[in-house]
């Protein structure tokens, strides 16, 4: 990889070099393509969904998808146990998954980055305390704690987002800490400090922008993680509550018909798989492209 960089013609601007790496990275391109499609579907949900995702039509309950005998174009992906159009629920489910993933990642990103930057910059006792917090957080069984808190508080969309946000900050903290440690004594940080820049501004405007690449990679990983966990919580009945069209909830509802109507679990599961795959490919790609020598 290092060899590759040296071989590039010197007159190439960093931007063009980056673009060239992006174009040559199959995973990054595939990931972006999948994610673009799902984002577009989520954004345009009201325009492209053929039906109201909450409208029940008991005459059409468990209508088969188009590729099975008896399938019709009215319900391309069939209808669920309450006769709700499966395609429409799938489309609105994309909104839900993306929203939960983004919101939870935002919370965990703020917590983790804050802790990590502080630990990395100040070091010493502060670092020891924050490292201890990270170790403690890693020792907590995430699924179990999330399930228990959701069950006791009574789960809802907000609760799920908060639980995930407050549980998944560890990787942000670890990465922000080590990246900050590397920058702490670099010349431009020292120069800013000598110039009398207040510490908080130094952290926000000197350190933070320069650890951004690494944090974006963590953000994609954690977003994928949050989306999977939300689906698992909803699947177990402790996440998003019906009648919201969460993909995890759709799989859980389809489970009752597992033996005779397996498409009910196949469709939302495949969507979930594609979304997480897209996010992961994008994250891996960004890591490879921004840190070609395998850092971050």
């Amino acid at each position: 990889m290092i060899q590759h960089v040296i071989d590039e013609p010197i007159q190439m601007s960093p931007r063009r070099l980056l673009w060239r790496r992006v174009r040559g990275h199959a995973g990054l391109l595939i990931g972006s393509a999948i994610l673009t499609v799902i984002l577009a579907v989520a954004a345009l949900a009201p325009f492209i969904a053929p039906h109201d995702p909450y409208h029940q039509d008991l005459l059409n309950r468990l209508a088969p998808p188009i590729w099975q005998t008896g399938g019709t174009w009215t319900h391309i992906l069939g209808a669920d146990q309450l006769g709700r159009d499966y395609l429409s629920r799938l489309i609105y489910g994309a909104q839900l998954s993306l929203f939960i993933g983004a919101a939870a990642t935002l919370i965990s990103g703020l917590i983790g980055t804050g802790l990590g930057v502080i630990a990395g910059y100040f070091g010493g006792r502060i670092d020891m305390v924050i490292m201890f917090l990270i170790t403690a957080r890693l020792s907590m069984p995430v699924v179990l704690v999330a399930l228990a808190v959701a069950a006791l508080l009574g789960s809802s969309l907000t609760i799920v987002i908060l639980i995930l946000g407050f549980l998944l900050w560890d990787r942000f903290a670890v990465v922000a800490r080590s990246a900050t440690m590397q920058l702490r004594s670099s010349d431009y940080v020292l120069a800013a400090r000598c110039a009398g820049c207040p510490t908080w501004r130094l952290l926000v405007s000197e350190i933070l922008p320069n650890i951004g690449d690494a944090l974006i990679v963590v953000a994609t990983l954690e977003m994928a993680h949050a989306i999977l966990l939300e689906a698992a919580l909803s699947f177990l009945g402790m996440g998003v509550q019906p009648p919201l069209p969460s993909w995890g909830l759709m799989i859980s509802e389809g489970r009752d018909f597992l033996f005779f109507e397996p498409w009910l679990i196949m469709i939302p599961g495949a969507a979930l798989f594609a979304l997480v795959l897209g996010i992961n490919l994008l994250g891996d790609g960004v890591r490879d492209v921004t840190a070609p020598d395998g850092g971050a």
């Binding site: 069984p141 799989i251 597992l258």
Partner: protein
């Protein structure tokens, strides 16, 4: 080595106590145990009675100290749902979850390590790309969905495995696969990276130059050094598997700790939930400790650093 051991052990104990405190406070903040025991719609007087009877009216710090002291003495309290002490429940359920975890970890290592070695021998070859693709796909596969697909495939379409229960070894096959595949990508990638580094080392070139069998060089000289970080990763992965057993055991109706956790959560059985969080955290802390110690034992350089 002794100093290293004592330091790590002290830290591990501190972490375990802290985690138990946090989970205690979190569960208490999330729900009133007296209401949970009395059941919904119980009279206020009954709830107050239960509060006093179980000692929930005391300050939280006192309750926690009391709980921790008895937990250390092996008394984890009594389940409010099952007619048994939590310790009895755990003694009955823990062996099943540990068996499942060990099977899953072995499965994961047996597949992932050779794959990682082969991928590293020829970087960027077809096999390497295939292994990386499998890893990427594996990481995106939702485990509960994978479990349902396996049930449809192996219990319905081709009925060769039982869908639920834990009577025979056959009941453990699907849960093992579902729990194990999730760790494969991480183990494979780490093996691959480690092998890539080691294979560039001078002593490998020396071993090859003196005409040793290529397989001996690969597995005896190279893998031994490349595998060191994988050891501590495996310990951590085993910890994750114990946590992940909540979902998998409830799908396959395996009567382990995971299913117990699920049952006690849905019945608001706080003493059991609390104890399981504590036990899993202690197991995780213990496993990372063992991983660190194994590392230090395998690689003397870590001890000095």
């Amino acid at each position: 080595m002794t100093r290293f051991f004592v330091q790590r052990l002290g830290l591990a104990l501190l972490v375990a106590v802290f985690v138990s405190l946090v989970s205690f406070l979190m569960l208490r903040a999330a729900g009133d145990p007296a209401i949970a025991i009395a059941g919904e719609g119980a009279a206020q007087a009954d709830i107050e009675n239960i509060r006093i009877q179980y000692g929930f009216d005391r300050p939280l710090v006192v309750q926690y100290a009391d709980w921790l002291a008895s937990a250390l003495a092996g008394d984890l309290g009594r389940s409010t749902y099952f007619n048994a002490t939590v310790a009895e429940l755990l003694a009955e359920r823990l062996p099943i979850t540990l068996t499942l975890g060990l099977c899953a970890l072995s499965f994961s290592i047996i597949v992932a390590v050779p794959l990682g070695v082969l991928a590293a021998v020829r970087p960027n070859s077809l096999l390497d790309r295939l292994a990386l693709t499998i890893a990427v796909f594996g990481q995106a596969l939702p485990n509960f969905w994978f479990a349902l697909i396996l049930i449809v495939l192996l219990s319905v379409q081709f009925p060769i495995l039982p869908p639920s229960g834990n009577e025979t070894w056959a009941h453990f096959v699907m849960p093992t696969i579902v729990l194990g595949y999730y760790s494969m990508p991480a183990i494979m990638r780490l093996t691959r990276t480690g092998m890539l580094q080691v294979l560039r080392a001078d002593y490998i070139r020396t071993a090859r130059a003196k005409g040793l069998d290529p397989l001996t060089v690969l597995f005896k000289h190279a893998l031994r050094n490349a595998i060191i970080p994988v050891v501590s990763l495996s310990a951590v992965q085993f910890g994750y598997m114990l946590g992940g057993s909540v979902i998998i055991e409830s799908i396959f109706a395996l009567h382990g700790v995971g299913q117990l956790a699920w049952e006690s959560i849905s019945r608001a059985d706080l003493p059991t939930v609390q104890a399981i969080v504590l036990v899993l955290a202690v197991l995780y802390v213990g496993l990372t400790l063992i991983g660190d110690l194994l590392n230090a034992w395998l690689d003397p350089r870590i001890r000095v650093a």
